[in-house]
């Protein structure tokens, strides 16, 4: 191919030359279809008019556009709850923060988007002694909360102040780079990590057990199964152990419909939580923490797909961050996992 091009031609000049069997690249064709600015638009359009091969490609690009644009435009029609008041509250709070508190807030933000997660995962993976998990993709990040509220445990302790003596001074960064911390903050983070490992490796909400929770077995992280979990009863799609009827606090139950179960969808419904309060759902079995916000009636709902029976959640603990109460749900079996599944 290259010997067909005159050696004196520069790359730019070759881009303008679509004769002798040369075609514009796909990105140029797509840009032309999408009416984007192109230096050599005239030549490209002329080529498209004359070349059935490129016309066919353009037609395919138009089809893609017809598929993508309506989908995205449809999503644009969604209405989201206003965040203005929450943002303004945070701005007001930001203005009142002392330097130390500002460092703390930065630290929390660093945690939210952080790179620390990988380290924690590595350490936890070693602690659990399941090196095969990661190669099989079974070990899932234990830390995934995305919220500005303080985490229960070490972060709450951090907020009380003793752990942080000083933070970065008024060093300011470009907006997207705020997670890069000075060395002193990293040292503090390392200390925090040590505490967090203790928190997440052990039952996650242990320090704030309620009476009802205390009666249940300690929520240790169960081993993941290499074989499908046998079904103990075919009459029920899922067998669960839920808090007793006298339970007055928050409660979570397994509420997947049969059709959802056929699609391996697990739905957990919760009630009795603080209205509009933050609820943390720790799913044991694949060790993920999901943040949720209760609705106006104190209900929560979480839905997820179990792609592999080995990842079936065996225990789910919901922690109401406002009232600091706990609800636990144990799932003994899932009928959809009784049939042969891919592993």
């Amino acid at each position: 191919m290259s010997d067909q091009r005159p050696p004196a031609h520069t790359r730019a000049s070759r881009e303008y030359d679509y004769s002798e069997g040369r075609h514009p690249s796909d990105d140029l064709l797509l840009a032309s279809v999408r009416q984007q600015h192109l230096d050599n638009r005239i030549q490209i359009e002329q080529h498209i008019n004359e070349c059935p091969f490129c016309r066919h490609k353009c037609h395919a690009f138009e089809q893609d556009g017809r598929l993508l644009s309506p989908y995205m435009q449809e999503q644009k029609q969604q209405f989201y709850p206003s965040i203005t008041n929450r943002v303004m509250q945070r701005v007001a709070l930001e203005n009142r923060l002392s330097r130390r508190e500002r460092v703390l807030a930065d630290l929390q933000r660093a945690y939210k988007y952080s790179l620390l997660e990988g380290i924690v995962q590595k350490i936890l993976g070693q602690q659990r002694g399941q090196p095969g998990d990661r190669t099989q993709g079974l070990f899932v990040s234990p830390l995934s909360p995305l919220t500005d509220e303080p985490l229960p445990g070490p972060f709450a302790a951090l907020q009380s102040g003793s752990a942080l003596r000083s933070g970065p001074t008024g060093s300011r960064r470009s907006a997207p780079r705020s997670f890069k911390r000075p060395a002193i903050a990293l040292i503090v983070v390392a200390t925090v990590l040590t505490l967090m490992i203790g928190l997440f490796a052990s039952p996650i909400m242990k320090p704030v057990m309620t009476e009802s929770h205390a009666q249940q077995t300690p929520p240790s992280i169960p081993r993941q199964h290499n074989t499908p979990i046998p079904v103990t009863s075919k009459s029920q799609s899922a067998q669960t152990k839920t808090p007793g009827p006298t339970h007055s606090g928050p409660q979570i139950v397994f509420c997947s419909t049969p059709s959802q179960l056929k699609r391996n969808i697990v739905q957990i419904c919760g009630s009795g939580f603080t209205k509009y309060g933050r609820v943390w759902l720790a799913v044991y079995g694949f060790n993920v923490v999901f943040p949720r916000t209760a609705d106006g009636r104190g209900n929560i709902n979480i839905t997820f797909t179990v792609n592999d029976c080995r990842l079936m959640p065996l225990q789910i603990t919901a922690f109401d961050a406002s009232s600091r109460r706990i609800a636990t749900l144990q799932i003994s079996s899932l009928s959809s996992c009784s049939s042969s599944r891919h592993h």
Partner: protein
């Protein structure tokens, strides 16, 4: 109607009203963009809050050659991509927000429409986050390649390549999905 310069000057003077009106004006498109990018409504709400907080804190550092909207989208994109990169760790679990299965969100019309929508969504999820961001900004928010280049700090040529790569990958993923194409 204020110009960008007036808004930026007001924000730099810490004018709360100006900031409030900016958030009110941009919250829906920014949340929508983040929702489409990260695929989780609640996470998108969280990320949008962080985006606006960052805007308030860093308004003094806004590049002169960039429009206010592009700069805010840049911050939102960075937050979204950072979240997506972290989410790779959870690739075995597909977490759906509860509203995905709520009846009021069901797509009306033939079953095929809903199926197509799901397949399109799955195909978009299979893209690299950087390519997906380009596609979202171009097809979803109607930005030109030049504007996307400003937002993502890329040349228009790089954006052109990314969009093309994203569309090709999207077509491959959509084509391999278990559905007969029209």
């Amino acid at each position: 109607m204020f110009t960008d310069i007036q808004v930026v000057e007001s924000l730099q003077a810490r004018d709360a009203n100006a900031f409030r009106s900016l958030v009110e004006r941009l919250e829906q498109p920014i949340i929508g963009y983040l929702h489409r990018l990260v695929g989780d409504r609640e996470v998108a709400l969280d990320l949008a809050q962080d985006t606006f907080l960052q805007v308030y804190k860093e308004i003094g550092k806004m590049p002169q050659d960039l429009s206010l909207n592009a700069w805010i989208y840049r911050i939102a994109t960075n937050y979204g991509l950072r979240y997506l990169n972290r989410k790779k760790l959870r690739s075995f679990i597909h977490l759906d927000t509860s509203e995905d299965y709520h009846p009021c969100f069901a797509v009306e019309g033939p079953e095929g429409q809903a199926e197509t929508r799901i397949l399109v969504e799955q195909a978009l999820r299979s893209l690299k986050p950087e390519d997906a961001a380009c596609l979202q900004l171009h097809y979803g928010d109607g930005f030109t390649y030049e504007e996307i280049g400003q937002i993502l700090q890329l040349s228009p040529e790089a954006v052109r390549k990314r969009v093309s790569r994203g569309v090709t990958k999207f077509r491959a993923s959509y084509g391999t999905a278990p559905k007969k194409r029209m």
